[in-house]
Structures are given as C-alpha cells and as structure tokens.
C-alpha cells in the first residue's frame, strides 16, 4: 500500500503546539507520567457521560479520551461494546459528541480527544467534523481503524486545523510503520500493549515494554500505552517506561455498575499509580 502513503515532508505542527503533548510532558515532569481516561459519549446518558468525564478529571485524569459510539466497533471488547450500543440505542447522534466536548471543556481544564472509527467522520465530512470539533474546544482524534497510509485526507485536515491526531502502534508493526506512526502522530502515539481488543487483563504483556523501546528508537517522545490496563499497579509499572497510561474498559465498567460517583472513586484510586 506504499502507493497511498501521504507525503510526510509537509510541515507538521510540533509537539509544543499540542495541548495533549504539553499535558503529558507536564505530568512526566511533576509525576511518573500521565493518566489518560476513556469513556464513551452518551453512556449511560449524554448528561451522565459529561458528568462522568468531569469526575475523571477532578479525580486525577490528565487527558480525556471520549469514545464516539459506532455500530461496528471491531477494536472493542464486550464492556465497551455494551456501553456504546446502549448509547446508540439511547439515541446518540454525532453532534452530541461536540456538545459533550464543549460542556466538559467549560467545566474542567483537560484536553479532550475523540476516539472514533472512521466512517462516521467520513459521512459527516472530514473538514466539517474537524471544524466542529475545534469549535467545541476538542483537541483532536484517535483513529483506531485509520492508519497513516490510509489517512491522507485526515493528515491534510488536521494540519489545516492544528488538531491532534493519534495513530496506533502495535507489537506486530514493522519499524518502518512505527516510524510512520511517530512522525505523523501529534499528541501521543497510542501504544497497543497487546495483540487484542479492549478489555481489562490481569497480566500486562511484556510486549508493551518492548514496543515502547522500539518507538523510542524511531524518535517517539510522547508514548501512551493502552488496552488491558485496570489497576494502579499496572499504571505505575507502565509509567516506569512510557509517558502515559490509558484506561478504558475498567472505567466504563465502574460507570455501568456504580454511576458517576463510582467512576470518580476508581479514577482517584488509579491516579495513585501516577505518583509512584
């Protein structure tokens, strides 16, 4: 697919211009590293998802990752599938994501990334989506099914708008592809800890440590590890070698089981992992 690879020589806004990268750098200066928290928009309701996201930040989350519910979430495990399906059945519309970002940003000062599969962005219009996200105060996109080599339109639009773009790096990625992810990501590189989909795991793979080292060799400076992380101990372990730790399913489960108060408590507990 090299014929589709975007020309990466164009000026790419530097890390210093990315609020997400700055936040992660600051967390690494003051503490062990950054805590990135994921929750889907519209679960259990639009209002409650906004409250829950605010609670995450009030309890130690540095960067928010808001998931945009999608009918065919191939990278997600059962917990996130159930939550995003509930959101869709509750009537979630794309425009709700911008509303949620705006409301969260008016209440807390943490950068907010949207995590979205590509088709909703494509249908909304890549430029229009980016403009609406920027107006709402969003920081950028994490794109689980859009890689650098298939994302020429998003590379162009994110350069125009200055939005962050977080690409994924996997244990099976070649060095060449890791370099592409590092050079084209802005904010951080989403370092996939293990071969698999989202969901809490008891043991973290040694693969994450190896992958972070490989990304460093390619010049990676802002690296957050995600997938399978659910305890403060795991966060502490990851922040020993990476710049950020991403928690998703565990937070979603806490929200599903115990509501906003419970997800706030879990966030506070997990944030302990950033102090060691």
């Amino acid at each position: 697919m090299s014929d589709t690879i975007h020309d990466v020589t164009a000026a790419t806004p530097s890390a210093a211009e990315s609020p997400v990268a700055r936040t992660i750098a600051a967390a690494n200066a003051g503490r062990a590293g950054a805590f990135v928290g994921y929750l889907p928009v519209g679960f259990p309701s639009l209002d409650a998802s906004v409250d829950a996201a605010v609670a995450l930040v009030e309890n130690g989350v540095d960067v928010l990752e808001l998931g945009l519910p999608y009918s065919d979430p191939v990278m997600d495990g059962p917990v996130i599938q159930a939550a995003t399906l509930a959101s869709l059945q509750g009537g979630f519309r794309l425009a709700d994501a911008f509303t949620a970002v705006e409301r969260i940003r008016s209440r807390v000062d943490a950068p907010v990334l949207l995590m979205t599969y590509w088709n909703p962005v494509l249908q909304y219009g890549v430029d229009r989506f980016a403009d609406d996200l920027a107006s709402a105060g969003g920081a950028g996109l994490i794109t689980p099914d859009l890689t650098v080599d298939s994302g020429a339109d998003w590379l162009a639009t994110s350069d125009r708008t200055g939005l962050d773009r977080v690409f994924l790096a996997a244990p099976t990625s070649t060095d060449e592809r890791l370099r592409l992810a590092v050079e084209n990501s802005r904010g951080f590189v989403y370092t996939v800890s293990t071969m698999g989909i989202t969901g809490a795991r008891a043991d973290l793979d040694a693969a994450a440590r190896t992958l972070v080292a490989r990304l460093r060799e390619q010049g990676g400076e802002s690296l957050a590890v995600g997938i399978g992380i659910s305890t403060a101990d795991q966060i502490a372990e990851i922040l020993g070698y990476a710049d950020g730790a991403i928690v998703g399913s565990a937070l979603v489960k806490a929200l599903a089981d115990g509501g906003v108060a419970a997800v706030g408590r879990l966030a506070a507990e997990l944030a302990e992992g950033t102090h060691r």
């Binding site: 697919m1 589709t4 999608y70 009918s71 065919d72 979430p73 191939v74 990278m75 495990g77 059962p78 599938q81 399906l85 869709l88 519309r93 794309l94 590509w118 088709n119 909703p120 962005v121 494509l122 249908q123 909304y124 689980p144 099914d145 859009l146 890689t147 080599d149 298939s150 690409f167 994924l168 790096a169 996997a170 244990p171 099976t172 990625s173 070649t174 592809r177 992810a181 996939v192 071969m195 698999g196 989909i197």
Partner: protein, 409 residues
C-alpha cells in the same frame, strides 16, 4: 455503457477506482501485508496453481456443468436460460473455491487455525471442510439469528469438527459475525488465518477472493461458446458480498456485448427499511476495512439489513462491484423475498433443481430480464448453491411444513 478502452480484468487493488483500500486497525496490518505477499508469491508459483486445480478436479468436482432449463425459461420471456451449476460442488455452493485457495495460502504461511464468518452457513461449512481436509483447527462465527434459521448448517459444521460460536453482539447477523472474526484475528493473528468468505474486507481480500472464484466465469465462458457457439447476451448472479457474482462476471468484463446483472436482496421491498439492497439504496462509506457502498444512516452508523436469505443479509458489498456499478459496466437491481421465493419454487417444479434461496434471487432477476430481452436472448445464470439448507425456510414459506418444521398431513 461507458467506453472500455482498457481491460477491466486486471485490477489488482488495493483500490478499484475510488473503492476498496484498507481501513483496519494497525494490529492487523502486518497480517494483511503477510497475506498479500504470500498471495503474490503463490500467484507466480505454478506448483500452487497445480495444487489448487487438482483439488478442484478431485475434491470440488470442477469443472461444474452447464444445464439448460427450457421449462423454467418459458417464464422468462422465452429467452434461452442456462445455469452454471455451482450448486453441484462439494459442500453445495461456490464458496468452496475461495476456501480451498485461501486454505492453501494459510498453510504456506504456517497458520494452523482457520476462522471464518458465515451467514447462510455455506462459507462456514466450506471452511470447516477445508480445515478437516488439511488437519487445521476451525472456529466459525455466525450471528445468533442465523444459527437459528440455518440450524442444519450449524450441525454440519460441528460434524466436520469446527467450533461454531453464535455471535450475540450488535444485530446478531452476518455483519456482526465479521466484527467478531476480526476481533478474534487481532488476538490470535500469530497462528490464525481469517478466511474471509466474500470479495469484501480490506486489501488483499477483495482481489484474492475474486481470483479464487473467477474460475466460475472462465469455465462458463468457454462452455457457453462450446454449447451455443456464442457468448451470452447477459450474465446474472445474486449479490451478497459479491463473490459468486464477481466469480461469474470477471471472465466477461471485457466482452462489451455481454450485459452483467447483479441481483441484490430487496427483502420486503427496496423502499421499505427491511432490505439488503446495498448498491441500489446505499451510499459510499467504510465498512469492514474497505470503501464501498453500504447501508447507513446520516451519521454513518451501519443500518440493519434484512433478507429471507441469510447469505444476502449483509449491509455492505465488495468494492469491485461498487466500481463496476460506478463505471456502468454492471447493473445492480433489487429482488424481493417474495420474488425470490416464487423463482425458487418455479425452478423446483419446472426443472427438478432445488436452488439456494440466495441463488433464487438471480433466478427471479433472470425472469424479469428475460421478459425485457425477449426470446432471442441467451442468459447465463450463476446457480451459486443448492437449497438443501433452505428446505425448512421454504417449507414454512409455502406452508408445507408447520411452525415446528414437521410435515403437514
């Protein structure tokens, strides 16, 4: 028709015009690259082609025959109607052609476990069959709704040694079975090959699967010349993901005198919200790794599809079909459940052949088309599969079985 000044038979992906590509998690890119490379090497290796051809001759039963159906044809405006009998293949459909090709590739790259999605169960049965033949482990994902309406095929897969996992996520049909198979593949890519069952999905699947099924049209083109002394005026096929259709169309793409007609499942009607007429009613988007037509709402959420035929009940379609539609080389038309069932019964009663309900969509389309083209026309039909698996559905539909599936006295 557009002017075709270059061959349409040489598209090698990842893109077909603006369709196709690869929209997939990074975790799967290495496996897709490995597959694309292994396929390229196999394609250049005469030993691979010989092995595949030998399996075709001695296992599948290739070449499949042509059967002319004059009593059926009377209902199709008197046109000459000739069936390409993929229903006579081992395992009962065209799916085995793709499965044997991919299973050989999987073995070449050292994968010991095959996973597959299935709707009607025909692709699952074919994959389970190949796994048994090659001594591989096999897991088949099947929407829970489909395990109920195609219970016989679930039993067949289990007898063949496969594990069948009913998929309870999303809408519990074929599209969710694909999602679940991709999730399994992400986690087990080291020893597992995802044997995708149609010409959809990320590159290299659409080209690779097409190359494994295009033998249908290559045989049929020569057989038509031998039988009738000329090329047919039209070639018809049902279109789910599009594998049997591309399989029979491909050899004819450069024969501009031959009209190509794909029939999509219109369920209760293309103007209702219960259909699977993807090209007729959808618009371009990304689903399951490639850009093509799909059924979606304004937000890009995939819509539920509906068809009486599990194998056509899919809200997407392969990118090569989207391209052939966009350049006007092939026509795609809707056929309702009722039209398909009437054609199903007609073929049973006039010719003694019980078709798959999927294939009955092509037969219904042929009836319409024959009336349009008139008695001088010759139409070649892809009879993609046999109807054993559908006897219960049809029995209920025509009221010869009761709700429990028992014969009515």
């Amino acid at each position: 028709m557009t002017d075709i000044s270059h061959s349409l038979r040489e598209e090698a992906g990842p893109f077909f015009g603006e369709f196709g590509g690869r929209f997939m998690p990074e975790s799967l890119v290495a496996a897709l690259d490995e597959l694309a490379e292994a396929y390229q090497l196999a394609k250049l290796d005469p030993a691979f082609h010989e092995e595949l051809a030998a399996l075709g001759r001695t296992y599948t039963g290739r070449p499949s025959i042509l059967t002319e159906v004059p009593r059926f044809a009377r209902h199709a405006g008197g046109a000459r109607v000739i069936l390409k009998r993929e229903d006579l293949n081992h395992t009962g459909s065209h799916k085995i052609n793709n499965v044997l090709g991919q299973a050989l590739i999987a073995r070449r790259i050292g994968k010991s476990r095959l996973i597959a999605e299935t709707g009607a169960g025909q692709h699952g049965v074919a994959t389970a069959t190949a796994a048994a033949l090659f001594g591989m482990e096999c897991v088949v994902y099947m929407g829970e709704v489909d395990t109920e309406r195609q219970a016989l095929n679930v039993a067949r897969m289990r007898l063949l040694g496969a594990e069948v996992i009913p998929v309870k996520s999303g809408t519990r049909t074929l599209k969710d079975a694909l999602n679940e198979a991709f999730r399994d593949w992400v986690a087990n890519v080291e020893n597992t090959h995802y044997l995708l069952g149609t010409v959809a999905g990320p590159h290299p699947f659409p080209v690779m699967v097409r190359d494994f099924v295009k033998i249908i049209g290559e045989e049929a083109r020569q057989q038509m010349l031998d039988l009738t002394g000329a090329l047919p005026d039209a070639v018809t096929a049902c279109v789910g993901g599009g594998s049997n259709a591309i399989g029979i169309f491909h050899a004819f793409l450069d024969d501009t005198s031959v009209g190509l007609y794909g029939y999509e499942a219109a369920g209760l009607g293309a103007d209702t919200d219960k259909h699977a007429a993807t090209i007729t009613k959808g618009r371009p988007g990304v689903l399951h790794g490639s850009r093509s037509y799909m059924l979606q709402d304004a937000d890009g959420q995939t819509l539920d599809s509906h068809s009486i035929s599990a194998g056509l009940d899919y809200p997407g379609v392969g990118p090569e079909h989207a391209w052939l539609a966009s350049i006007g080389r092939a026509n795609y038309r809707p056929i309702t459940d009722e039209q398909a069932m009437q054609a199903f019964r007609l073929l049973c009663g006039t010719e003694g052949i019980i078709p798959a309900i999927e294939s009955a969509h092509a037969l219904a389309g042929t009836i319409e088309l024959g009336r349009e083209l008139g008695p001088d026309a010759t139409i070649l039909v892809s009879l993609s599969g046999r109807g054993d698996k559908d006897v219960e559905t049809a029995g209920r539909y025509f009221d010869v079985l009761d709700e429990q599936g028992n014969a009515k006295i």
